[in-house]
Each structure stands twice: as C-alpha cells, then as structure tokens.
Amino acid sequence: MTTTASEKKDSPAASSASAAQAAPPSDTVTLTIDGQKVTAKKGTLLVEAARAVKNEIPVFCYHDKLKPVGACRMCLVEIEKMPRLQTACTTPVAEGMVVKTKSDMATGGQNATIALLLANHPLDCPVCDKGGECPLQDNTFAHGVGTSKFEEEKRHKDKAFELSENIVLDRERCILCYRCVRFHDEVPGDRALAVIDRGSHGEIGLASGEQYTSPFQGNVVDICPVGALTSRHYRFRSRPWDLKSQAGIAADDPTGSNVWIDTRDGRVLRLRPRENVDVNDAWIADATRWGTLPAERSERLAQPLVRKGGKLVAVTWFEGLRAAAALVRNHNTGVVATPALTNEAYGVLAEGGLGDAVSVWPRIAATSPQGTLAGLSSSKSVVVVGCDPWSEIPMLAIAVRRALVPFTRDGIATGGGGKLVVIAAENGLARDSAAWLKASGADLARAVADLCDALEGKGGSDAAKKAAAQLTVRPSSLVMGPAFAHEPGNAALVKRLQAALGVVDDKGACAGFSGAVDRYTNARGARELLGDKAALDAASAAGVLGRAGAGALDTVIVVGDVPHCAGFPVDGLGKARAVWLTASLPKDASTKAGAVPDVVDVVLPLAHVYEQGGAFTTLDGRHQGFDAAGIPPSVPGAGPDERAKADWYALALLAAELGRVTPHDLKGLRAVLSTKHAFARIPLNRNKTRTELTVV
C-alpha cells in the first residue's frame, strides 16, 4: 500500500515483532532476516515480519488489507535451503528460517521484475498524477537496473479508458497487480472490476455488460501502485509535493471515516482515507471522497447577509451578529440544529441558551444504539431491518460484511463466518445474506413478527424458519432503519426481536450492536449533548418547527446544512422570522433567486467542516476530534475577522452578543465542556491507526 512510514509508525498491528513478544512463546517463531534476529507470531508473512523491524521488502501486488496473491514477483527473496527465490508476501515465517532480501540472488530477481515491468511502461512520470508518490518510481530507484536491454517497440494500450464518470484507467501504466480487482472482490464484495483477456494482452476493465457503479471506486485510486487509475475529480490538479495533508474526519459519515484532507494554499483539493483499523480500516466511500469537498473558496458566501427593506445586504460580522441578536433578544426563540454540527456547536447550544427550545432536524432516532460497530463486525448472527446500508451508509455495509466474510489484516485472513438475514426491500446486502425476507413499509413489521415467531420456536413461515436457523450463534446484532425504529407501534416488536436474537446478555451488555442507524454525521453527538427531547420530531407540537407553525415562536435560528438532505425547513415556520447559519450558500446568495428563503432575515456564513476544528461522535459512540485543514472563505481586502466561521464559533459569538458568555476559542470551549462531556477530553487532531472508543 502507499502508506508512508509515518502513517505506519504508530500502528500497533504493524509491529508484529513487538506484538509477538507479548504472545505465549509457542505462538512465535524466531527467524533471521538479513542477519537480524526477528521474533514473529506464527503465520506472519515474511514481508510483515521484515516491516516490523523496519526492513521494507519492495512490493507491488501485496497490500496488507488484501489477500496476498504473489503475482508481481517484486518481493522475491532468498531463503536458505530453498532452491528458488520465494515471494516474501506469500511466505509465512518459520522457525530458524534464514532470509536474505539483499543478496545477489534476491536483488537479481527483484531487478528482473522491475526491468520487465519498465520494459512496457510508458515512463510518462512527468505528466503522471502519481509522480512523487509512486512505488514503481521508488522501487525503480531502489532496486531497478539502470539501462534497458529491450529494443522492441512497447506495447500500446488505451491511455484514458473511462471506467466510470469518476475513474479513468491508463492501461499502459497498469502493471497488473490486481489490487483494484481484489479490492472490489474482497472488501465491498461487489466484484466490480475484472481482468479482461489473457497474458500480455490482459487488462483491467468491466465484465461485459457491466457498469462501474460501486460506491467505493475511489479506493482503487489510492491503492493502485502506479498512476494507472486516476480520479476524474482530481486528475492533473496538483503534484503531491505541493499538498499539505491534515488528519480529518469525514463530513458525511456517521461511522466516522478517518480521512486525510489534502490542501494547497488553504484550499481543500482531495480527500483520502486515513488508516484506522477500528473505524474505516483504509477505505472511504465515494460520497465522502468526492461529495464532501467544499466548493471553491472564492465562490462561497463569506459575509453575513441582513435583510434591509426586503433585500438582503452584505454586512460585517459585527453588524450581522447585532441584527441576529436583535431578532432573538426579547423574542420567543427556538433553535433548529441539523444533525451534522460539531459537538462543540451543540455544546454552545446546550450551554449558551440561545433559544427556549432546541430541535434536531431532520429527525434522528430517539435513542442511541447499543454496542459497537466492531461488535457488529465480529457478530455471528446479524439481522438488518428496513434499511439499505449499501446506499445509505456505505461504510456500515462494509462493517456488516466483515461479520460475514473474512477480511485481511496484515496479510492474514481474519474474522468472518457470521450469517446475515435481511428484512427489507431492494437491498445491497442481499448478495451477502443467508436469507432475505423481502418486505417494505407496513409489511416490515409483519415480517419481523414472523421471524420472531420462528426464533422463539412458535411457528412462523417456512422462509422465516429457514432464516431463523441461520441465526443461532452469538454474539448477534440488529441494525434497523430509523423509519422502522421510529414507528411507535413497533416499539414492542423491536424489543421482542432484540430478546429473540439475544443482542443483550443477562448483564445488560451488548457484545454486538443493536439499534437504529441514522445516516447523519453527528446524530449521536446531537442526541448526547442536546438531550433526548431534541431528538423528538421537530414538526410535532412540542418541537421547534411545530411551535413556530402554531405561532408560539417569533424567531427560529437554523444552524447548519444537512448532507443527504438538502434544503432549509421553510415549511412550518409560520410567521416566525429566521436566522440561518449555513455553509452552503454561494457568494451571490443575496441576489440569486431562491438561494435564501424569504423567511430568513439574517444569514451568518459558516466554514466548511474541513475548514474548522471540532469533534463528532460516531453512531457507535466513538468521539473523534479534528483541526481545521482548509481556510474558510473570506472577504477580499477585509480584516481577518471577516470570514466564514466555525459552527461553534459563530454560535458562541451570537451568544456573546446576547450577553451569555461562552469561550470563543476551541480550547477554552472544550475545557468548559469537558467537565460534562467525554468528547471534549479527547484531543483533537490525533492520527492513530486505532482510536479508543468511549461509549458514554
């Protein structure tokens, strides 16, 4: 993989050598690699054992998160008593093994591979996106021979084959390591890419009649060891060495994918997965990768807008805050917060008392799930009801799949073996399910009751009995769509299914996962900080929208934008006036028809998530903090204060304007919040391949 040394450094899993020392002695073997004694766990692959002692054996096809295939022959090493060179990526360590990775014989094999790969390679590095972060370049410098013996003409293939609207393939650059094909076969399991033709004509493509529609396409760009796969969203935009990478958290993913945010001059140009074996492993969904990139800074609204004489006028923050405060002061005010704000913003709302009531909109589940996604991934019985993680929360689909199919960690297959029953309409997980009880709408409840009957041994249909027979091993997990879980009439049924599945043990502990899954980034953070009441339907009689509609509120502060759910809750505001804190408006919002709804009197521009610091809480209760990576839009020529602001900062400023003081800096705010909330005690900007999970 293209992980840099620094990324790998703090991975506890990568240091098999030290991990091994803790294991019982019978579990380990001692071998010699280039004269160095190495103790490693049995089953460890040579390439990983060497890596653990900082001896990098060159690889192309090997990727620590994919099954080793031994295809490229880059990692050839000499092993004493073996007549031929062996591939370090497929050979497990053995007691007393003596390995030479730099002997004449070994380098001879490695050089041969490089030479043969380069013989057909176009060598167009100066115009290649991968230039500067290309293992082929690196391995060539380190292990290649200088001159080419080949004088025949190179093979010509497609230079820009469009696999999809996102991905372009340069078939001349491709070295046929099959990482991309293997990724789709193994991780999402959608077998999206195929090898076409044979031998030296072999190329990567789509099986005939197929289209590349996987929601995980971008990952193949990351793992392609050369510049053969490129993203059409990023091609030729920048050279890697011009980019600054900063650790961040996905703006749209409730499972909390860890990302690298690559910026140039403060502008966010690309997102890449950041390894965290407990969260997203090394992958992210395309929706995160391409769907959450902020628009060009200069195209976005940087100044507050205030309605004067019916027209929106750009003003300074000083004026904007004053206008907003005027609408709140001495008025009945409610707050509508989206479930994608930072915990710090919810903290200000909870502490600062900006309004009499806070509602979360769109609606989120009333209670948080029990258990963890790691528990889900290690469950032996999984039931999914009324949702399609594949399309709604793609990374959750991978978490479910891990329970079913072994996945690869440090080159070794692990986990899997669980069974899945899906009760839902059309479903991306159906392919991996042991049973699929097709149902939707009101039929869902009937199908669940049917399965409960079968699980409880009280009859049930044949299909339900067959499904129930798959669900006998524990731990078990239950994943529910919010719509099904919200339905008041289903409450007893949900309890019954949880009991029948045994998701919670006698002591009340949930070793798997159980609950409704919201698709919004920080629904859990909102619920935990704003309280259960905020999670009630905003449009109900007690909710902020309901009260505004009934004429009980004069002002509504709407905070945020919702990925997956564009639009502002105009309907139901009644006669109330609105203050809108948003990151979604273009710079010409004041004049653009329909950009700002008529009910809005004040607009306060927010920074994009990737341009601010804060913390999110994943749907399984993992708090993850992040620092600003990009720079928010600002007003040209104006002072440093005249720019779009972090959600918590804008709220804190508004609170201050109203005389309710909360700290204006992130550190201070977190210090205040930390007395009550665990998330604020977890440092921001941690780049760890594992992060601790604190379920509150």
Binding site: P68, V69, G70, A71, C72, R73, M74, L76, R84, L85, T87, T90, T91, P92, G109, A112, T113, A115, L116, L117, A119, N120, K149, F150, E152, E153, R155, I175, L176, Y178, V195, R198, G199, S200, H201, G202
Partner: protein, 437 residues
C-alpha cells in the same frame, strides 16, 4: 526388436471404441477397488507409495506421498483428476478416457477411498467432448452397477458403505487450466490463474478444502497396483526410481506417430524413434527431440541413447514431463521452432505474474525480429538474459517452460540463429501457422 511387453493401461492397441463395464469386469476390472476396500485407507496409500508410482502429469511427484499429505480429520476432501491434457504433442489421457474409462474410474475410486473423498471431479479439456461423453457414460454404468454412488453397494473395511460420486466437467480449453491450482480456480468458476503456494492443495485446494490433483494416467496405474500387488507393479520398469508402465506419445517427423505403452526405462530414445516410430519419413537424420511436449529442453541428436524414464531423460539434460516426444529431422530451423514454441507460451501465459507475462512477450518480439532477418548477435545474449529473468522467478512452472525452447536451442543450435543474422530476404514460410492461434 520391439520389446515383448503386454500393455496394461491400453491393453488393446488400435482399438477406438470404449471398453464397457462387462468387458472390463471380465478381465478383472474393479478387483483393485474391491481389494482396496478390504484394507485401511492409509494402507492403500502405503501400497501406492511402495509401488513407486510417480505422477504422470509432468512433475513426476510420488503419488502415494501426495495422498499422504491430506489431513486425516473430518470434513470434505476432494480428488480432482487433471484431464486437461493441453501440452502440444500429448494425447495419452485422451485414449485412456475414450477407450479405457473404467480403468480411470477405478483409479479414482481407489484414490478417493485412500484420502477420504466422497466427491471427485474430472476436469477435461474442452475439446475432448468424446472423452467427456464416454467417461460420463461409464460413470453412469458404474453407478447402476452399484460400484459408485452415495452410497454405493460396496462396503469399506470398517463396515460402512463406500460412497463416491464423480463429476465430469469440461473446461473451456486453455493450456494454463492444466496447472493444478489454475485448474482448481477454473473448477470453482473463477479465471484460470494459478494460486500462490502455500497453502498447497493438499491443505487448502478446491473450495479451500484438502484436495489431491492427479493426472489421468497416474490414476489409471493405481488399479493394477491394488489388483496385482506392489511387487508385480515394481517388476515392471526400472526400479527403484522408475517403476510401472508409461504411455509415450510420439509425433513429429516419424513414420508411425501415436501412443506407445512401454515399461519405464527399457528402451532408448533412439530405439523408440527407430523401432516404434519407424524413423523419419524423409529418411533424414534426427536433429533434436522434444521429450515433454514443448515444456522441456530440446534433446540434441547426440543424446539419443538416453533411456526413456525419469532419470534417463534428466541425464540427457531435459525432463520426461508428460512423455510426449516430438521428433524433428534436420530440415527444421531451430530458430523457427523456438519462435513457434515461444509464441505458444506467450499466447497461453495467463498473465498473472510479471516475469512470464512480460518476458514471453519480449522473447517473442525479439524472435520475430530475428525471423525477419533483422537480428543481431547481441540478440542471443538478450534472449538468454530475458530467459534468466523469467526462469525460477515465476508463480507457476509455465514461465520456466517458456524459456527452455529458447535456452536449449541457443545452446545446441546456435548456428541456426546465426544463419538468420546474415539473411537478407525473409525465409520464414513456416511461420504461416501463426494464424491458427
């Protein structure tokens, strides 16, 4: 003088129809299986080991030893018969299946009993439709007679019924499907690309379960061992390393091409060509012989006194492999021959691993250029250099195979190469069959 030898595997030379079950049983067929079922499975394996039977698929690996690697515990195990027979000049398994299908089935049954397999597969190359049909018919016959089935009417030594079903599967015709792990992939419905070992098939093969892959001829040897005993088997051939009968395929420049069953180690290559093949049709001297289809080094005329067995052919600088002898008289331009063989391997390379995928292509390009008369003396060095980059570095043996025609022809027939360097006009008319690809 041809040897006085009563063939065992193909006892009816010249026959074209299949031997039916009744006829097979009349000549003692399935006695081997019945004997085996009276013994413990591991004792059957020991007999095969003691008999010295080596794999006839190419690598010559001791069969009993291969069976003994299969773990003894519970859970499914598979026996897979390699009937892909795609090596140029190889046609012995075809005769065995078309004419003596029950010998193979009996061998499969004995092997399955020995390793604890209840479902065996025969992977036949796609073009062998007749063999496929006849084998299927024979399986049905054996099932009806209660010799096969789940369970069959036969009883094992431990008193439980013997249970075995055989699936006959026709591939889609690719050389690489003969490599045992690619064959397993293909059988599973995947692209035929070899797997990296470990794990070996004996531990994790078909559907990741313990699997033995054996060649057709290998298994066809087994009934005799069980029916007549280890000593009788060892009396055939040239013990200890070269026991049993062997079918030699003979083709190329000979008057009488065909399958010849002989004991291992009893005739020389020269005798074989002269006395069995009748010599070259042109009467011209033999220039070289390929002993294993195109997969092993060419044996030059100087080594024709090599004995036909594993050790003898090895001593002549080559490998017995599938024992498919292709004879070339002195009209053959060895550069042309090497080019044609490399062309075959380039075409059949599955492309999974770099050295074979890229290397065969470069070998072919350079050879084509030489055939066009545009060669330089330094090209010989390049060819050898590229061969060295391939050999020993590939995932499966196909890569090694691909280099042997080049390195052996340069070694023994350097002049043929040099002749092309000076040639101005093209004289590559024999290249015409490239279109046949």
């Amino acid at each position: 003088m041809p040897l006085d030898y009563q063939p065992i595997l193909l006892p009816n030379p010249g026959r074209t129809t299949a031997v039916a079950l009744t006829e097979y049983e009349q000549r003692g067929g399935y006695d081997g299986l019945r004997n085996a079922l009276r013994k413990k499975p591991e004792d059957v394996t020991t007999m095969v080991k003691d008999a010295g039977l080596k794999g006839r698929g190419g690598a010559g690996f001791p069969t009993g030893m291969k069976w003994s690697f299969v773990p003894k515990g519970p859970g499914p195990k598979y026996l897979v018969v390699n009937a892909d027979e795609s090596e140029p000049g190889t046609f012995k398994d075809r005769d065995l299946m078309e004419i003596e299908p029950h010998t193979l089935i009996e061998g499969i049954a004995i092997g399955s009993y020995a390793i604890g397999c209840e479902l065996a597969f025969v992977y036949i190359r796609g073009e062998y439709t007749v063999a496929g049909d006849r084998l299927r018919d024979a399986v049905d016959e054996a099932k009806k007679a209660g010799l096969l089935g789940a369970p069959s009417k036969l009883t094992r030594a431990d008193g439980t019924p013997f249970s075995l079903d055989i699936v006959v599967f026709l591939g889609a015709g690719a050389y690489i499907c003969g490599e045992e792990t690619a064959l397993i992939e293909s059988l599973e419905g995947n692209r035929a690309m070899p797997r990296s070992r470990p794990p070996f098939p004996a531990v994790a093969g078909l559907y990741m379960k313990p699997t033995v892959v054996n060649n057709v001829e290998t298994l066809a040897n087994v009934p005799y061992i069980l029916a007549k005993g280890v000593d009788a088997y060892k009396a055939i051939g040239n013990p200890p390393n070269n026991t049993g009968p062997k079918i030699y395929c003979l083709s190329g420049h000979v008057k009488r091409p065909g399958n010849y069953e002989l004991p291992l180690g009893k005739v020389t290559l020269r005798q074989f060509i002269e006395e069995y093949g009748g010599g070259t049709p042109s009467g011209r001297p033999v220039k070289g012989v390929l002993p294993a289809g195109v997969s092993a080094p060419i044996i030059p005329a100087a080594n024709l006194d090599a004995v036909l067995d594993y050790d003898g052919i090895k001593g002549a600088g080559s490998m017995l492999g599938s024992a498919s002898f292709i004879v070339m008289d002195d009209s053959v331009d060895m550069l042309w021959a090497a080019t044609r063989m490399v062309e075959f391997f380039r075409h059949e390379s599955c492309g999974k691993c770099t050295p074979c995928r890229e290397g065969t292509m470069w070998l072919e390009k350079t050879l084509y250029r030489m055939m066009e008369g545009k060669g330089k003396e330094s090209d010989l060095e390049t060819l050898q250099f590229v061969s060295k980059q391939i050999a020993g570095n590939t995932l499966c043996a196909l890569g090694d195979f691909a280099t042997s025609p080049v390195t052996s022809s340069i070694k023994h027939y350097r002049d043929d190469y040099l002749a092309h360097l000076v040639r101005i006009e093209k004289k590559s008319d024999k290249k015409g069959d490239k279109a046949a690809e």
